[in-house]
């Protein structure tokens, strides 16, 4: 059993998806999907603890040896991400039955759970696999499932948003495939570890340069790096709220993971940062993303769209960490990936509760809503403080390491830019707090009750995680530190 863990991680949701189709009934499908999600969570936790104890876990699919067969490889870099994906998925699924009641027609509920499981299997697959082509396969699985999930949104514009994402996502995926194809042409292998060994011999060829460029641009499309983010705000706004929760907390992180894996492990640090102006590009786009997206977020009335722009800004922070090209920098990136998953999960779940009660998360209709939905808005407040980076929340920890990494490089202006970015997030979060808490209830405020427990419990688990990992940082910081050390220990 133990030896199969890394493949079980992916296989369980992948097989569960068609079984769901057989179940038909909405409640049954929900119960089954949730059970599956919690099983994958258990598997991922077991994997993480095993990796922490005894180093990377490698699994040969079908017993075929590595360079020929497909290898699953879980190490310090992807194990925590697996936990994040399955944990968010499990918590979101817990809330999903209630959340989709009003947002998705009854007869499509089963499809929803199927698409969800497939999406989850895809994301876990991208993360767990050690095979470059497999990355593409799972990327397509997760993307197709995601298009379906987004298109399930109540608003008809969801179809348009889904199509927009489909076009952008397909371009991204194609670029990635071209990159992988070119690498295969040059080396004759698809296994990542094997690629890493063979690429240096041919690294000064135009083909490898082209492969790298295609790959990075394709991944940037998927992770919504400014200015390739145009698909994201619509997708997050019009998708069913619970889907947004899941995607915002996990999907972009997986793309970032792919980027880090290829930059540091497959191509190697030196190739990536000396042959390419990667540092300059990521730094510029990262900072531009932080400022542009944050400013746009300030002017949004629809809160889902506001947080979507905030996500684009947060991707900017994550990219900054990579651009530092230092161990502390990459560690801050890894940490922020996990932490941002926690905060955006909590925030979007709070919005899901608002949408559940009000039908829409429009700030102009939320005057004094905190007196009607105190627990939900308290969750939003704490999540928001975490996003800003207030001490004792996870947001502070990641900002702290990001700024430290900037100072380590001697990049004082970048450190200042990170803090100025936080100020912008203060503005857009505080707008909400002011309206929800300090505006008196007006006639346009719908007469609503507090969200049901099914939404509140997962929401508050995430909120408490935001606080817990903001105070007791040894696990998250330790894991990120080890992963960063691994990435730099493998320097060629």
């Amino acid at each position: 059993m133990i030896v199969h863990l890394s493949v079980l991680q992916v296989i369980i949701p992948l097989i569960a998806a068609p079984i769901c189709l057989l179940l038909r009934k909405s409640e049954l499908a929900w119960a089954f999907a949730t059970l599956v999600a919690f099983m994958t969570l258990a598997v991922s936790v077991a994997l993480l603890s095993q990796v922490m104890q005894s180093g990377p876990v490698s699994y040969e699919l079908g017993g075929w040896e590595a360079p020929w067969g497909i290898e699953y490889r879980v190490d310090m870099l992807n194990a925590p991400l697996l936990v994040l994906i399955s944990a968010i998925s499990a918590l979101a699924l817990l809330a999903s039955r209630t959340s989709i009641e009003n947002e998705i027609p009854e007869n499509r509920h089963t499809f929803f759970y199927i698409a969800w499981l497939l999406c989850m299997a895809g994301l876990l697959g991208i993360t767990a696999t050690g095979d470059a082509f497999n990355v593409f396969v799972f990327l397509e699985i997760s993307s197709l499932a995601t298009y379906t999930l987004i298109a399930l949104g109540k608003d008809r514009r969801a179809l348009w948003a889904s199509f927009q994402y489909l076009v952008a996502g397909t371009i991204g995926a194609t670029f990635i495939l071209i990159g992988i194809g070119l690498m295969y042409v040059m080396t004759g292998t698809l296994n990542m570890a094997d690629l890493a060994q063979r690429l240096p011999d041919v690294e000064n060829t135009k083909t490898v340069f082209t492969a790298f460029a295609f790959l990075i641009v394709g991944v940037c499309m998927k992770l919504a790096l400014f200015p390739l983010h145009l698909w994201l705000p619509n997708a997050y706004t019009f998708a069913p709220s619970i889907v947004t929760t899941f995607l915002a907390a996990t999907a972009t992180k997986v793309a970032v993971y792919v980027m880090i894996r290829f930059i540091f492990d497959v191509f190697g640090f030196e190739f990536s940062f000396t042959h390419f102006p990667l540092q300059e590009v990521l730094l510029t786009l990262g900072i531009a993303g932080i400022f542009v997206a944050s400013v746009v977020a300030i002017y949004q009335d629809n809160l889902k769209r506001m947080l979507a722009y905030s996500s684009v800004a947060q991707v900017g922070y994550i990219m900054l960490g990579i651009s530092f090209a230092s161990q502390t920098g990459i560690m801050a990136t890894l940490l922020h990936m996990l932490n941002h998953g926690l905060m955006k999960g909590a925030l979007f779940l709070a919005l899901a509760a608002v949408v559940y009660r009000m039908g829409i998360a429009q700030l102009s209709q939320m005057h004094g809503i905190a007196s009607r939905m105190p627990l939900t808005m308290a969750a939003f407040l704490i999540g928001g403080l975490s996003l800003i980076g207030v001490p004792l929340t996870v947001g502070f920890i990641s900002k702290w390491y990001l700024v430290s990494a900037a100072l380590e490089n001697g990049w004082w202006p970048v450190a200042a830019a990170i803090l100025l970015g936080s100020l912008l997030s203060v503005v857009y979060i505080w707008r909400v707090i002011e309206v929800a808490y300090f505006k008196p209830v007006s006639e346009s405020t719908p007469d609503v009750k507090e969200a049901p427990a099914a939404l509140l419990i997962p929401m508050w688990i995430l909120v408490l995680a935001n606080l817990y990992f903001g105070i007791e940082t040894s696990l998250t910081v330790g894991v990120s530190q080890m992963a960063a050390a691994d990435l730099f220990g493998g320097l060629r």
Partner: protein, 488 residues
Amino acid sequence: MNSLTPELMLQLTMLVPVLAIAGILLTGRSENVREAVSVIASLIVLALVIGLYNTFKAGIAVEVNWFEIMPGLSLSFRLEAMGMIFALVAGVLWLVTIFYAIGYMRSHHEENQTRFYACFALAIGSVFGVAFASNLFTLFIFYEVLTLSTYPLVTHAGTAEAKKGGRTYLGILLGTSIAFFLFAILGTYFVAGTLEFTQGGVFPAGTSVAVGGALLVLFVFGVGKAAIMPFHRWLPAAMVAPTPVSALLHAVAVVKAGVFTLLKVGTFIFGLDFLNELPTTDALLYLAGASVIIASLIAMRQDNLKKRLAYSTVSQLSYITAGMLLATDAGITGGAMHIAMHAFGKITLFFCAGAILVTLHKTDVSQLRGIGWQMPVTMAAFLIGTLSIIGLPPTGGSWSKWFLLSGALDADQMFIMGVLMLSSLLNIAYLLPIPILAFFPPADGVARPAIKEAPLPSLLALSFTALMCLVLFVFPQPLYELAASITQ
């Protein structure tokens, strides 16, 4: 009290106000019970602070560690002279202000009083966090909690003007603290590797003075609560708050948390020797001096009494900032003493302003002529408060000014000496006429109005603080000993 260890007492100063919040929220229905909770909590806290003071005098070291967030970054507290002064001031004045607030809020028929008392308690709890913090990180956390918990108090009225004031308040305080203060903390941590308050400073020998100078600038501007110009606008904006808030928070807790932080940073992060070497110290000193004068000039032009007092506070705060930047023992001593002296003086003035508002419904200086006959006790207290702010005997304010002057003399800063002198004159010009005109006889033929004093709890409160201004002149010894031991 014997079973209470000093460590527990220290933590309770923060926890009791937090527990009081729960009590206040639960008993919100019944006014009397709710106010009783506040009074009891503040009595307990005062007893705790006095207990801590006795412990401190006995020379017992008290340290508490809550948890370590990252290596070298922990939430921990330590008893120390400067913090002791701040805690004593806040402890005494919380109790007094609660009494005052009961009279004020009821006779002014304010709404949302439960939220008011709850936020008040949270603010005070965080003041003790600031006072006892043993490192910059802990201090920063409570500094931010203080900002956030006082925002609902500033916007209490809920009017458009209150909202606007609240936004300025939050914008400047939060903005400077994130953009400059946090940046300075990170920079300090990066250069020195620690944020622990250490006698003589934390920067290793050979730290570049350019970096140190830049950090000092970030600190001075980043601690927006110290209200150095041009980041002072939040303080007049916050005057839309109910008077008890202006009194305790914007004459004592919030602004003093600011200058207290600066004194701490100057003494225990930079250290006076390093501070002297920095290229930016003098420039900032001149800026503080300019703040003193300019704020006084603006105060002269304010007709709204609370606004005038607010600008006077801006000016007085820069005294303390200047005291730190003088980087002499006497400057620090004077600054620390001024925290207490100015607190008692200014809170008296605010109490009086509020008493005039609720009794006679007057807010402007120009309306106050002759009201001394109606409110003799209040206006007498106002006179004493004024004398203390100016720094004239027989009030406590004269001592702190004395030490600040001698600090300026030690540092050979004639400019600051001149500023302090000129500022005293300006204080006389814009504050003293108020109580004097109040006792002018009414115009011929008009009958002298009958006595109509403030509500009794408020009257007791303002008499007490006025009395304290006098007491501190006669018995400044305990305070001086505490203040003088900071740099030793």
